[in-house]
Symmetry: C2
Subunit: 223 residues, 2 copies
C-alpha cells in the first residue's frame, strides 16, 4: 500500500498538489456539518475549480466518486489528509526566534498539519535557554548536535534577511533536508534540498498593488 502510494505521488503534477489542500479544507467543513456525500460539481461551485479538473485531481489519489451520489466525505477527508502528509508527524527546527519565528512557534495550527517544532535556534544570548510553548531555544552553534539527536529533517528559516544565506548554509551542512523559508531572501541550496518559499510580506505588495488598481478602475467608472 505504501509502495503503491509512492508510485502515485511521483506522477502528481504540482498544480494538483496545490489544489488538494483546498479540497481538504472544504470537505473538512462538510464533515463538520455531517454531510455524507459531495459531487465534484458541488466542490467546483464552492472552490471555483472546474469539475472535470477536480475529478482528474482526485483520480490521481485513486479516489473515485459514485454515479449520482458523488464522493463519500469521510473517505475524501481521510485520503486527502493522509496523502498530503498531514497525518504523519514531521519534526522541525525553528531557525531564528525573532518576532515571526516566535509567532510561528506559538501557532498550534502547524501541529494539526503534521508539523512538530521540537526546538528553536537563535544567536541572541538573552533568549537562548528560554522556551516558547514548552519548546526550548538553543544556541545556533548547537544545531548539528540536536539535528543528530532528534533526527529532524525540516528547518523553518525566519532569521533577518542579512543572515538568511548563512543560516541556510548551516542548516544544510548539519543535515536538514528541507528549508521552509519565511524570509524574502532567495536562498541558494543544492538541488537535493527542498526549498519552500513562503514570503508573507511579499504578498502584501500584491494586495497593495491590486487595491490601487481597483481604486483606479472605480474612479474611471465614475467619470
Amino acid at each position: 500500500m505504501a509502495e503503491e502510494l509512492h508510485k502515485i505521488k511521483t506522477i502528481l503534477p504540482e498544480p494538483t498538489l496545490r489544489r488538494l489542500p483546498w479540497y481538504l479544507a472544504y470537505v473538512n467543513l462538510l464533515q463538520s456539518q455531517k454531510v455524507e456525500y459531495v459531487s465534484s460539481t458541488q466542490i467546483a461551485k464552492e472552490i471555483k475549480v472546474d469539475a472535470s479538473q477536480i475529478a482528474k485531481d482526485l483520480s490521481f489519489l485513486n479516489i473515485k466518486g459514485k454515479t449520482r451520489i458523488g464522493y463519500e466525505v469521510d473517505t475524501l477527508v481521510h485520503e486527502l489528509a493522509d496523502f498530503l502528509g498531514f497525518k504523519e508527524v514531521h519534526n522541525a527546527f525553528m531557525v531564528g526566534v525573532g518576532s515571526l519565528g516566535g509567532a510561528l512557534m506559538r501557532d498550534s495550527g502547524l501541529s494539526q498539519y503534521g508539523l512538530n517544532i521540537v526546538a528553536g535556534f537563535d544567536i541572541k544570548q538573552e533568549i537562548i535557554g528560554t522556551s516558547i510553548c514548552n519548546v526550548p531555544i538553543y544556541d545556533m552553534e548547537e544545531l548539528a548536535k540536536y539535528r543528530k539527536e532528534t533526527g529532524t529533517e525540516i528547518g523553518i528559516l525566519a532569521v533577518p534577511v542579512e543572515h538568511a544565506q548563512e543560516a541556510a548554509d548551516k542548516m544544510i551542512a548539519c543535515g536538514l533536508k528541507a528549508i521552509w523559508n519565511f524570509t524574502p531572501y532567495r536562498i541558494k541550496a543544492p538541488e537535493d534540498i527542498v526549498i519552500q518559499n513562503t514570503s508573507i510580506y511579499a504578498h502584501l505588495a500584491l494586495i497593495y498593488n491590486r487595491m490601487q488598481e481597483n481604486e483606479k478602475t472605480a474612479s474611471t467608472c465614475k467619470e
Copy 2:
C-alpha cells in the same frame, strides 16, 4: 509624480510584481553591507532570475542602470520599497484572534512592510476586551462600527475554516476592500474585492511531498 507612478503600476505584470520583493530583499542586504552599486548580472547570480528579465522588471519602475557601473543600491532600495507600498501605512483588522491570528498580531515584521494592525475581532467572549501588543480585541459584531471610525480597508482572515466564508461576508458587507486570507478555505467574494490567499499550511504539503520524492530518488541512485 504620483500620477506617473500610477500609470506604470497599471501595466505591471503580476510575475514582475512577485519578483520585485526578492530584488528588494537582496539590495537591502547590499545596503547594509555599504555596497554602492550592483549590476543586473550580479543580482541575477544571487536571485537566480535571468539578468535581462531583471533589467526589464526594473525598467517598469523607470529605474535604469548605468553602463559598466550598474544600479545605485540606495536608489533601488528606495524606489522598490516605495513602489511596493511598503513605505506607506495601511491599516488592517485581524479577523479571528486564535493561534495564528494572535501570532500575526505579535509579528512586528508586518509593520515594517507597511501593515498596521489597528484592531482584532473575535467571537470568543473570553478574549473580547483584551489586547495583544497594545492592539485591542473587539466583538465581531462591532466590525462595521470600527471600520467606519478607522477607515480601515484591509482585513486579515484567520478564523477556523468553518467560519471563513461567513466572516469574509461580514468583512465585505462592512466595507473592507481587501481580504488577506490565511485560512485554507477558498472564499468567494465580488470581483472588486482583493483576495490574497496565503495558506501557509498548504505549503507544508508541498514540502512533505518533495521530501518523499527526494528520498525515492536517493534510494534509486543507491541501487
